[in-house]
């Protein structure tokens, strides 16, 4: 999800990141609160169109949809059978209800619509730019820094994790269901925590050595163009339109 795509000739790349963030924020709220199929399907349809016009490769879209839909498959296995209502079909001892199926379908569509919109925004914007755009929009500096550092060091920590895992493997470690395995994994997690905390200390030291005084400066120059305003205006109208379908 957070891996950046390079969409050089896509119009998505050129939109001011602040505009994109405002749109995705409002859109997600309205989507999360909507239940009518007319609203949900319209939203899903428009999101797909935006991605198509934005020339986002289909492969990338599907790759990013896998995690959320794995979760949704799990929901389909549980939710239809656990909501009370008129029975639709039977599966062994379990009865699926109409209300349950509808509820699960609503969740499936709305989460996919939100993820598609997020792909359109995140995939077309560099993470650092998103951070600075969030800052410009008034998100507290500390949260923005947390976001940026998480992105930067998650790779380092992941590499450290792989190193430790390999160190265990080359000495013949095989995970089994026993105390030895649990203990070893506990050591692994503990080691990662200690290493990450040490790393954080060293990074901070390195920043102090380069005159860090708590302030981040951005090299990005954001400027809203007429095109950005047009996109912001039309997308907000679209979101309001969704709200009208839902609540009017």
């Amino acid at each position: 999800m957070i891996e950046e795509l390079s969409l050089q000739d896509s119009f998505l790349e050129q939109i001011d990141p602040r505009v994109k963030l405002i749109i995705v924020f409002l859109f997600s709220i309205v989507m999360a609160a909507s239940y009518r199929f007319a609203t949900l399907i319209t939203a899903l349809f428009i999101c797909s169109i935006i991605l198509l016009i934005g020339k986002v490769p289909l492969k990338e879209i599907f790759k990013r949809l896998i995690p959320v839909n794995t979760l949704i498959i799990l929901l389909w296995l549980i939710l239809p059978f656990s909501v009370k209502g008129d029975p639709v079909f039977l599966m062994g001892p379990f009865t699926a209800t109409k209300a349950g199926v509808i509820y699960t379908a609503q969740i499936s569509i709305k989460s996919n619509a939100i993820i598609l919109m997020l792909i359109a925004v995140i995939a077309s914007t560099r993470i650092f730019t998103i951070g600075h755009a969030l800052h410009k929009l008034g998100v507290p500096t500390k949260l923005v820094q947390l976001f940026l550092f998480t992105f930067r060091y998650i790779h380092v920590i992941y590499r450290e994790y792989l190193r430790l895992l390999n160190a265990m493997k080359i000495r013949g470690f095989e995970p089994r269901t026993n105390l030895h395995t649990y203990k070893t994994f506990a050591y692994l997690v503990g080691m990662l925590l200690v290493k990450s905390s040490d790393r954080a200390k060293r990074v901070h030291d390195a920043m102090l050595c380069r005159g860090f005084n708590g302030q981040f400066y951005s090299l990005n120059n954001f400027s809203i163009t007429k095109k950005d305003l047009f996109i912001l205006f039309s997308m907000i109208s679209f979101i309001i339109f969704l709200g009208v379908i839902e609540w009017a």
């Binding site: 560099r126 993470i127 650092f128 940026l148 550092f149 992105f151 930067r152 060091y153 790779h155 380092v156 790393r199 060293r202 990074v203 030291d205 390195a206 920043m207 102090l208 050595c209 380069r210 005159g211 860090f212 005084n213 302030q215 400066y217 090299l219 120059n221």
Partner: protein, 241 residues
């Protein structure tokens, strides 16, 4: 006699609950001097750098930098702008997503404008032969590239003194030679920690050994034997020296 830029006297430091790593240590560094610092692992070489930068506080002793005593965080903040410190692990040093942002971080902190900072960053990258690296993602660089970019982040602050902590550890011959050439070319006062005696011999003009918390000064290099591999196998080749 050149100007005394770092004057450390009677510094003691021990890790919490641990042994004494620095024991009444004295060190004088003069302007233009290039000093090699060797010594066993865990001998306190990095600790000494941390103390000079004010990242660790010694239990006793005094530090004077550029003729001024440095005591509290405020003093150290000022001197950090003039001393560049290259960390052992480049991942500690590079935290911005792209190279240009990371190299411009120091100059921006020094109060330069955005355009000036970008200009300085580009100039430094060019000096290090890293033109075209501006938009590269820092965590995707190779080990050697990371080290060179780290050096760029430090040099972009235009320091008067450089503290380099094992600048060539884990690097291939080409990158090592590149760093060696750069360091010989730079007219900056520096202290270099290294375990590679050939490297340190070529880049510095005197070597000191930190052992048991004390500095042992070597005014001259010892003649020594060294073992080397023949990368070209049995093909005829010349020995450079």
């Amino acid at each position: 006699m050149n100007k005394l830029v770092i004057n450390i006297s009677n510094i003691c430091y021990s890790y919490p609950g641990g042994k004494k790593v620095l024991d009444n240590l004295d060190l004088e560094l003069f302007k233009g001097q290039k000093l090699g610092l060797v010594g066993p692992n865990g001998g306190g070489k990095t600790t000494l750098f941390y103390i000079i930068m004010g990242l660790l506080k010694p239990s006793s002793g005094s530090i004077e930098i550029f003729g001024q005593p440095v005591v509290n965080e405020k003093d150290f903040k000022k001197i950090r702008q003039k001393i560049g410190f290259l960390f052992q692990d480049s991942d500690d040093q590079l935290f911005s997503p792209t190279v240009l942002e990371d190299v411009a971080f120091g100059p921006l902190n020094l109060g330069k404008s955005k355009n000036e900072a970008i200009k300085t960053a580009q100039k430094t990258l060019e000096f290090l032969g890293l033109s075209g690296f501006e938009d590269r993602v820092t965590y995707k660089l190779s080990g050697g590239e990371k080290r060179l970019v780290s050096l760029a982040t430090v040099l972009a602050m235009e320091p008067e003194i450089l503290l380099l902590d094992e600048p060539t550890t884990g690097l291939d011959d080409t990158t090592r030679t590149r760093i060696m050439d750069l360091l010989t070319k730079l007219p900056i006062t520096m202290i270099i920690i290294s375990h590679e005696i050939n490297f340190i011999e070529k880049t510095t003009d005197s070597i000191i050994n930190l052992k048991n918390g004390k500095l042992l000064t070597d005014k001259e290099f010892y003649i020594h034997e060294h073992i080397h591999t023949h990368p070209y196998g049995s093909y005829p080749h010349r020995h450079v020296k």
